[in-house]
Each structure stands twice: as structure tokens, then as C-alpha cells.
């Protein structure tokens, strides 16, 4: 793998036989990098896998985000992306019909500062990100720990939730690099034993991230 930085020529002759991928641009006949990163080639496609940069949302990603704003028809969620993501009231399950009718305010379901786990439903060309949850009430994460790691270390997988039954803990690995660790079910406070276990898990996640290791929940299960 070759490392390039902004403005470096990747391919001097790129008019035919080369497909321009992410992080590249054409200058005259040559293909140059527009971001710092590692060059990857898939057949004709040439792209630059960036070293840095925020999370780039894609449909189907499971993310952990924080509610930053409550609007009459939607919540705005910070998922560590370039723009805030929107969680519409309409996608948020049964409790929301009541809210829509005005019987219950949407703030009583999710308020500013709450952490939620959601799935990316759509990403529009102008960068608008729409989220989806099955049940707004159940999507809210109870108090716990949030560990932030580079988003590239969590790849989309079948399993994003790690259940640690012996300790009564649950961890959600968001594709946006936010890892939540907290209690399995219920909103009661953690006991001393649980706190110790949770911080051990948080330390482990941080240590793996600092070594640049991928965080795969399915494999983590064997580690704990």
C-alpha cells in the first residue's frame, strides 16, 4: 500500500483504464490525491483511503449518537459526522403517535443529551443523514460509558452489540466510532463490580484503538 498526501500524482496517465474513486481528482491527464491516505486499487478503480476525517455515514450503519436538538417533527443527532443526522418522529415507533397528537411531547421520549443507537436509513447528496429506529424509547441508551475511537476501526457487521451476561453489561459498537458500555436492560445505577468490569472493557477498547486494531464485537466476545 502506498501512502500519498494532498496533491500527489497517483497515476500520470489516467484518461482511460482508470476509474476515479474517493479522495482523487483529475488534473489534466493525471490522477492526483485530494486527501492524505493510502492508495487502494480495485481493478480499474483507484481510491485514497483517508487517514483522518470524520465519520462518513452510509446506509445500514449502526451508529451511537447524542441528541443535540429537539424539533416538533424530528430530533437532531450528533453522530460525529460532518452534519447532524435527523431522526424523524415518524420513524420512531408507537410512542410517537401520541407525541404527534400532542398528548406527549417528543422531549419526554428523547431529550437533549440522551444517547441513542440508531441505523442510518438514507444519506442524501447534500449530506443530509436520516436515521431510523424501531422504537424511540428502546433506542435510548441508559447511563454508561462512551468511548470514542476512530470510525475506521468499526466496520459494519451483523453484530454490533456485545452482551456480557456474567457482568450484566452490554456494549454497542457504533460504526461512527462511538462505543457505549453500560447496563444490560433497565436504568438502575451500576454496582461496584459492574463499574469495574465496565471500565475494564472501556480500557480494553481504548487500548485496542490506540494500537489501530479493528474492533469486531463478534470476536471481542472471546476476549472478555
Amino acid at each position: 500500500m502506498r501512502g500519498v498526501c494532498v496533491g500527489d500524482v497517483i497515476e500520470p496517465q489516467a484518461l482511460d483504464g482508470v476509474l476515479r474513486g474517493h479522495g482523487t481528482l483529475l488534473r489534466g491527464n493525471s490522477l492526483v490525491a485530494s486527501r492524505c491516505g493510502l492508495v487502494q486499487r480495485w481493478n480499474q478503480l483507484v481510491l485514497v483511503d483517508p487517514l483522518a476525517g470524520g465519520y462518513v455515514a452510509a446506509v445500514g450503519h449502526v451508529v451511537v449518537g447524542r441528541i443535540v436538538q429537539v424539533e416538533p417533527t424530528r430530533w437532531l443527532v450528533d453522530i460525529r459526522s460532518k452534519t447532524l443526522a435527523a431522526l424523524p418522529l415518524s420513524t420512531a415507533g408507537g410512542a410517537m403517535h401520541k407525541a404527534a397528537e400532542g398528548a406527549q411531547s417528543s422531549r419526554s421520549v428523547l431529550a437533549e443529551g440522551d444517547l441513542i443507537t440508531a441505523e442510518v436509513q438514507a444519506v442524501r447528496a447534500d449530506g443530509h443523514i436520516q436515521l431510523h429506529v424501531r422504537d424511540a424509547v428502546a433506542s435510548k441508551l441508559p447511563p454508561g460509558m462512551l468511548v470514542e475511537v476512530p470510525a475506521a476501526l468499526v466496520r459494519p457487521a451483523r453484530k454490533h452489540v456485545l452482551h456480557w451476561r456474567e457482568a450484566g453489561l452490554r456494549a454497542v459498537f457504533g460504526c461512527n466510532g462511538a462505543v457505549w458500555i453500560g447496563q444490560e436492560g433497565g436504568f438502575s445505577s451500576l454496582g461496584a463490580e459492574q463499574l469495574r468490569a465496565a471500565s475494564e472493557l472501556a480500557n480494553m477498547v481504548q487500548a485496542m484503538a490506540s494500537r489501530g486494531e479493528m474492533l469486531v464485537p463478534a470476536r471481542m466476545h472471546m476476549n472478555v
Partner: protein, 253 residues
């Protein structure tokens, strides 16, 4: 003080700090110096020390309104202890001008269409102002933008040239710039030879200006080589890390 000013800036082909006319001060560039920022850079040209942090791109505030293109907001701050005379609290007109000049130099090089509705905040802190602050800040800010993974057309490097005592001086210090007859600051995208910012001060004849611009372009190219080396080292380190990770995964499987 009066005695000092009568001393010449240049004596037999050398400047007061011993440099030749077309020589840079000692240059040090580094990235990734602020862990909390999306990207950061530190530049030191002897007594000019600049720290830049880039935050975002993050969603623009509601009051700025919708825009298809991203924005770059630049805030230059001279530390109160940066200049010989102690600075004042709050933004000075000088800082505001530097911010505006820097914003132009960076906007032209950034692919603003890659972050619609969002703003990248660039905070520049001049720790010590020893001359050519705009040029050093532009070089460092472009490095920080690249470090933040923001899409750019090319790196930006900038340098200053002063004409003093009849000679063209590359990368002037505060003393030299204070006694210049004319001066200019050029910000350039060296790989595609496009100018993103040119600030000219004082009277120039066209032949002198051409000569000064050529000198500045040469200086920018020199800085570009160094800036690229800094970024490449980071990329090479990442490549090694990724290979090690792939090997680890292969062993586990």
C-alpha cells in the same frame, strides 16, 4: 534605540542573523499536535511560532443559513506575549485582517463542495511573532487542513519577500519587514502552480516585482517539499500499522 536603527540590515552579502538574502530561517513543521482537534499543525521559523487547530467540518449554525458549499471560518489570534509590545485582550484589527487574508488563501485550495452545509473552523494561534506571520500561518493552516482529512486541490505554501536596502530578502524577520521599502506575501498551490493569495505592500517596479515573485515561488516550492515529507511520514506510518493489523488478523483466523 536610535543607534540600533542606524546599523545596516545587510553587511557583505549577509543579513543580521547570518543568513544569505535568499535563505529561509530554520524551518520546523509538524502535524497532529492537538489531540482534540480533527487536524492540527505546528510551524516554527526561528522566532515565528504558529499553532493551528482545525475542528470539523461540523454542521453550520442555523443563523448562517443553507449553502450547497462548505465554509471555512478562520480565526487568527496573536498571543498577548507574541509581540514585543504586549498585546491587548480581544480581537484587534490586525488579527481580523490576518484572518480574512488567510481565509482567502485557504478557500481556493479546499474542495468546499465536499462538505455541504458544514463549516470547518480553523483556529490559528501565533505564539511568537518574529516576522512573516501570514505566510507561516498559511503554510501551517494548509497542513492542518490536510491533516484533518479535508479534501483539497493541493497543499498551500506561502512565503514573504521584502525589499530592503536595495536587496530582495526571502522570509524577512520583524526587523527587516519594519524597514522594508516594499514587500509581498505569496500563497501558492505549488503542484499546479496556482496562486491562492498575493498581498503586496509598497511601491514596486515591474521588473523588481517579477524578480520578487520568482523568488517567492521558489521559496514556496522549497516549503512544499518539506510539508509533503511531513505528511508522507504520517501516511507511511499508517501503512505499516495497517499491514501489522492485517498480519495479526491473519494469525488469529
Amino acid at each position: 534605540m536610535a543607534g540600533l536603527e542606524q546599523q545596516p540590515l545587510l553587511t557583505d552579502g549577509h543579513r543580521r542573523d547570518g543568513r544569505a538574502y535568499e535563505e529561509f530561517r530554520n524551518v520546523f513543521l509538524n502535524t497532529g499536535v492537538i489531540s482534540q482537534a480533527s487536524g492540527s499543525a505546528y510551524a516554527e521559523f526561528n522566532n515565528t511560532k504558529v499553532m493551528v487547530g482545525v475542528y470539523g467540518p461540523r454542521q453550520s449554525e442555523r443563523k448562517v443559513g443553507y449553502s450547497e458549499q462548505g465554509r471555512i471560518s478562520v480565526d487568527v489570534k496573536l498571543a498577548t506575549f507574541a509581540t514585543r509590545q504586549r498585546g491587548v485582550f480581544g480581537q484587534t484589527p490586525e488579527e481580523r485582517e490576518l484572518s480574512a487574508l488567510l481565509a482567502t488563501a485557504l478557500e481556493a485550495a479546499t474542495n468546499l463542495a465536499s462538505f455541504p452545509k458544514a463549516t470547518a473552523d480553523v483556529y490559528v494561534l501565533v505564539l511568537e511573532a518574529g516576522g512573516a506571520e501570514l505566510a507561516v500561518a498559511a503554510t501551517a493552516a494548509a497542513l492542518a487542513l490536510a491533516d484533518a482529512g479535508i479534501e483539497m486541490f493541493d497543499l498551500v505554501t506561502a512565503c514573504s519577500v521584502s525589499r530592503a536596502e536595495g536587496a530582495l530578502l526571502l522570509d524577512p524577520t520583524t526587523d527587516e519587514a519594519a524597514r522594508e521599502e516594499a514587500g509581498l506575501t505569496l500563497a501558492l498551490m505549488p503542484a499546479c502552480s496556482e496562486v491562492t493569495q498575493l498581498v503586496s505592500r509598497g511601491p514596486w517596479s515591474s521588473s523588481q516585482l517579477r524578480e520578487a515573485l520568482e523568488l517567492a515561488m521558489g521559496g514556496c516550492a522549497q516549503l512544499d517539499a518539506l510539508a509533503r515529507q511531513v505528511l508522507k511520514t504520517a501516511a507511511a506510518e499508517a501503512a505499516t500499522r495497517r499491514q501489522q493489523e492485517a498480519q495479526r488478523q491473519a494469525q488469529q483466523a
